[in-house]
């Protein structure tokens, strides 16, 4: 089985790349792009570089960031969850309803919010693994069902007036850091460790990479998938909680088309759309790239239509660079 010995990667850049990928499970290029973008924005606008603006960026990214974490897990396993935006809306409405209309204490409302999301995810996972219906279709259906259910529960109206303890989750600022940002960071760290360093995470990637390999390795792929979709729904529920507490209301129209933004962030961060590769840290960087772009363009008073074009362009560019690199690797 002798083959010509291939050269070890040379140069500081390639060396750094390998280190980042192996140790931290994140692509170095994504981080460089983020920093580069930040530098450009700070040159173009004097308002960009300030602690309070950075907090704004993190705060604006918090909801999408949690959704993107959900998307990363599901995409890494070769699946797809199009319902997370609607589930975000549904969860927020459920939580607000429990807190305001039913008058339940905050912990129960919080549990109900995340639980509603997890339940929706469980239903998704069940139909996908038992019913043999493709994930695209199941989650597309759930997208409509969850949104409709949110409108039914709320009677189409915003449910206003959450209790103080609950509001703290979205509007509190312990030590000057907004709570959603703290929650995002904690969840991101935990989820990064799960995906990169635990058996569950490695199996998730393997299932997306080659489902057959996972099956022959003795992994219970169906159960694993069920767990992933439930996790995705639960995270969407958490995002719904953050959203509702940020604007102090259960809004049935919350999260419309957020699933696409979340998937975009995951892909910009290096997740493979078809499965087998993904990193939470990368996804957060991807979400921040979008956040910095939007924030910077807002500060420069560029209309939101151009912002959408810019994000679309960044997405294509990110995937192009990624594909280019894959080619380079296999050429060696």
């Amino acid at each position: 089985m002798a083959t010509p010995q291939t050269q070890r990667a040379t140069g500081l850049w390639a060396g750094l790349q390998e280190k980042f990928t192996e140790q931290l499970h994140v692509r170095l290029e994504s981080i460089v792009v983020l920093v580069g973008l930040a530098v450009i924005m700070s040159i173009l606008s004097p308002f960009f570089l300030s602690v309070s603006n950075f907090m704004n960026i993190l705060l604006a990214t918090s909801t999408i960031g949690i959704l993107a974490i959900a998307a990363t897990f599901v995409l890494s396993s070769g699946g797809l969850d199009l319902s997370i935006g609607s589930v975000l809306g549904l969860s927020g409405v459920v939580g607000a309803s429990v807190a305001v209309n039913l008058g339940m204490p905050t912990p129960i409302a919080v549990f109900a919010t995340i639980g509603a999301g997890a339940l929706a995810g469980l239903v998704n996972g069940w139909v996908i693994t038992r019913g043999f219906v493709p994930a695209f279709i199941v989650t597309l259906g759930m997208l409509g069902i969850a949104r409709g259910l949110a409108l039914v529960i709320s009677d189409g109206r915003v449910i206003y007036g959450l209790p103080d303890w609950m509001l703290f989750l979205g509007q509190g600022r312990p030590f000057g850091i907004p709570m959603p940002v703290i929650i995002l960071i904690v969840v991101a760290i935990i989820m990064h460790i799960v995906l990169a360093y635990t058996r569950f995470g490695r199996h998730t990637l393997a299932i997306g990479d080659n489902e057959n390999a996972a099956l022959t390795a003795g992994i219970n792929v169906d159960l694993h998938r069920l767990t992933l979709y439930t996790l995705s729904g639960g995270l969407a529920g958490l995002a719904g909680l953050l959203f509702a507490t940020r604007i102090n209301s259960g809004d049935p129209t919350a999260g419309i088309s957020y699933e696409l933004t979340a998937i975009t962030a995951a892909i910009i961060g290096g997740t493979n759309l078809f499965g087998g590769r993904g990193s939470i840290l990368g996804t957060i960087v991807g979400a921040l790239i979008m956040g910095v772009l939007q924030n910077g363009l807002n500060l420069l008073a560029v209309q939101s239509y151009y912002q959408q074009m810019a994000i679309g362009a960044v997405l294509i560019l990110a995937v192009f660079i990624d594909q280019f690199q894959q080619r380079q690797e296999t050429k060696v």
Partner: protein
């Protein structure tokens, strides 16, 4: 050290150097709209710019991608505060989504103006937010004017079904117009029964569908009141497609350019014209007055005008100038 590393290092240094530097202070008015897609908001944007230019102040206008993007608007609002405007003039998507940002603005002593009365005073009180003033049309009055016109055309003794198409659920503007219309209608013509009052979410397509469904249920529909022109025009299409154009009185609210065209063509019956251009212009002028310490009423009402084919053709009404 390779080139890339050098660049990285320089970048890092620059970033660290600036992180805690204070940004240069700025003046100017921040104006946050919903979306510029609807001609109503486009006209208001024009009025705002005219007012600002007339007042000779710096300003920046932002909008979001749709009039349902609640969180987006909140994020943009927060970002606009970073530019340290002296006043924030906002048209909130619903009565609660901008509250954290407005609270923040208040803490930074930035004057807050409610453009087009999207905020609920009760909610503002509960949140402890004091706005400098709110300016807009009296939406309840606008709805009532719609009812008056409908009764004037149909007669006070007529019996028949009427459809009301509401705005986006939870939006106070839509609620006021619908309620204003309904109350006045009952008062003037008890024989005209509102058989359905459904939210059209400011969407032309949705309104068209609602109209179709209700016409199927009530083929003898005599009147439709829609809380904005976009939805009214959707209803118009459905009514004419069903061959009942001319048998149904259709009234919208806003008086935007699309509505005016439709009225001239004899399709839309009437629109209670808000004067968005005037609202925008006067909002800016009033902000300048407020900042210079002058007096501005807390609730500035801009009048509304019922636009009909006759009125437009005659062209003598002075307020027509502000219908863009």
């Amino acid at each position: 050290m390779s080139n890339t590393t050098k660049k990285c290092a320089v970048g890092m240094a620059v970033l660290t150097w600036f992180v805690f530097s204070a940004p240069t202070s700025a003046e100017g008015y921040g104006i946050l709209m919903k979306t510029l897609a609807n001609p109503y908001w486009g006209a208001m944007g024009d009025g705002v710019e005219a007012g600002a230019q007339g007042a000779g102040v710096d300003y920046y206008i932002q909008a979001v991608e749709s009039d349902q993007a609640a969180e987006s608007q909140l994020n943009v609002c927060n970002t606009m505060l970073e530019r340290q405007p002296v006043a924030m003039i906002t048209a909130a998507i619903n009565s609660t989504n901008l509250l954290p940002c407005l609270k923040s603005a208040q803490e930074r002593e930035i004057k807050v103006v409610d453009l087009d009365e999207n905020l609920d005073p009760a909610i503002l009180d509960a949140a402890g937010i004091e706005i400098t003033f709110s300016i807009g049309s009296d939406n309840v009055l606008a709805g009532a004017q719609g009812a008056e016109y409908m009764v004037s055309q149909l007669g006070a003794d007529v019996i028949g079904p009427v459809l009301v198409i509401e705005g986006l659920s939870g939006n106070i503007t839509g609620e006021k117009r619908a309620t204003g219309f309904a109350d006045k209608l009952t008062e003037l013509a008890p024989g005209l029964e509102i058989v359905a009052s459904l939210p059209g979410d400011w969407d032309r397509g949705k309104a068209a569908n609602i109209t179709n469904d209700i016409m199927t249920r009530n083929p003898d529909l005599v009147g439709i009141f829609a809380a904005n022109d976009g939805m009214a025009l959707g209803a118009v299409e459905s009514v004419f497609a069903a061959g009942r154009g001319g048998d149904v009185i259709i009234i919208g609210v806003d008086g935007n350019s699309d509505a005016v065209k439709s009225i001239k063509a004899g399709r839309l019956t009437a629109s209670v014209a808000q004067l968005p251009y005037l609202v925008g212009k006067q909002a800016l002028e009033n902000v300048k007055t407020a900042i210079e310490g002058g007096y501005v009423e807390t609730n500035v009402i801009i009048p509304t005008l019922v636009l009909t084919k006759d009125l437009i053709d005659a062209g003598t009404e002075p307020l027509l100038e502000f219908v863009k």
